[in-house]
Symmetry: C2
Subunit: 237 residues, 2 copies
């Protein structure tokens, strides 16, 4: 057990709590089949995710005003549908596909592990998703968050410090009373730089055959675990 017990634990969500890649590939493949629309859906999903950081960077650098992740996803989708030459999708289809990010399934350990942690700590996502995305996902997948720390609450995307410090401010606690949990070393490094506690566990299947990093802890994070159930065990709950 680490010396310091947090008051709250906030979780990166895409990849850390939910398996976005498998969920979206299954969701879009089934939807395309039902609508008679042919496409290389796995490749579309990978290209869509590849557009994630560059699209947020346009906001973070000031090129775009504040834009929710839902709207960034939609702009990337529109571009990719053209690039992939996908035909026959109506506006309703595109809206439905874009909301695929609200219909992601958790990794098997996530809901039982979070349920254990919720018994002692405040738990919430600290994600680049907007509140409505994260809330709809929580309802869809029965994720038992206490509070949704969507990026729209702060008007900033991670890794801007306004997100990590914004959680502490909103909870009226010190930064070192908040623990950031993520499957991504980079996210944790930025959280630690803001004074937060950190918990790492790997998700080696997040990117499928395209995974290139985050197989193991790269710093002496306060907790290094195998998954969320193991985070709970290491915190003694």
């Amino acid at each position: 057990m680490p010396t310091k017990q947090p008051v709250a634990i906030v979780f990166d969500t895409f990849g850390t709590v939910v398996d976005w890649r498998s969920s979206l590939i299954a969701d879009l493949t089934a939807y395309g089949s039902g609508r008679g629309v042919t496409a290389d859906w796995p490749a579309l999903v990978d290209a869509w995710r590849a557009a994630y950081h560059p699209s947020m960077d346009r906001v973070r650098t000031g090129e775009l005003p504040w834009t929710t992740l839902d709207n960034l996803h939609r702009a990337s989708l529109d571009r990719l549908v053209t690039e992939f030459g996908i035909k026959g999708l109506s506006e309703d289809d595109l809206t439905h596909i874009n909301l695929g990010w609200h219909r992601l399934h958790p990794w098997p350990d996530a809901v039982p592990g979070l349920t254990r942690l919720k018994s002692r700590f405040i738990i919430g996502p600290l994600s680049n998703g907007n509140v409505s995305l994260l809330l709809n996902m929580a309802k869809f997948s029965s994720i038992p968050w206490d509070m949704i720390f969507g990026s729209d609450l702060f008007g900033h995307f991670k890794p801007d410090p306004e997100t990590y410090l914004g959680v502490a401010k909103m909870l009226n606690v010190r930064p070192d009373q908040v623990m950031m949990a993520a499957a991504h070393n980079g996210d944790l490094a930025k959280a630690r730089a803001c004074g937060l506690l950190t918990a790492f566990f790997p998700r080696p299947g997040e990117y499928g055959p395209n995974q290139k990093r985050d197989y193991a802890a790269e710093q002496d994070w306060d907790i290094v675990a195998t998954d969320i159930q193991d985070v709970a065990a290491k915190l003694g709950v």
Copy 2:
């Protein structure tokens, strides 16, 4: 069942979900007894609550910059401790007493009724409390909110329209897809003016012997119920 089913139901909290008066009187009486501090705690609680609207109005009119309800409560408490001639309270005591608003107990129907509603709708408090107050209260009393709509998310107190409309915007739905539930006709009138659906149920014991109003619905609210369990029944869950 009303024609329109909401996507989300947001609840006034003090008085509507939790019994602030009985909770605080019991909490402060026990604490004072343990600390050997004598006071007319019921009268202090009533005076403290009487300071609630005037203190928020100082923010709403621009006399004060944005101030959380926790901090308004504390300023009122400091004044009242002097006015009531209460002696022997340390800074730690005052902090503990002020956080009594985080330790309020729900009315008996609240948690079972909200649990039913949560199965179909997004549920959250829409309260003048700040996020940390409402979140600590939810943890203390096992209130199963999906999301905490604290006044600090909007930088406004009810009945400013930014609060009611802010929920719809944050959820990316129309105002008439959000239902405001309250034991206070005035709150519902302001919510309806913003286009929200409305649900009323009375809490005739909220103010103890000092209750003066809100014994019954004063408009044809979309739902008029006896309590939160009955709201669930009237929505068919």
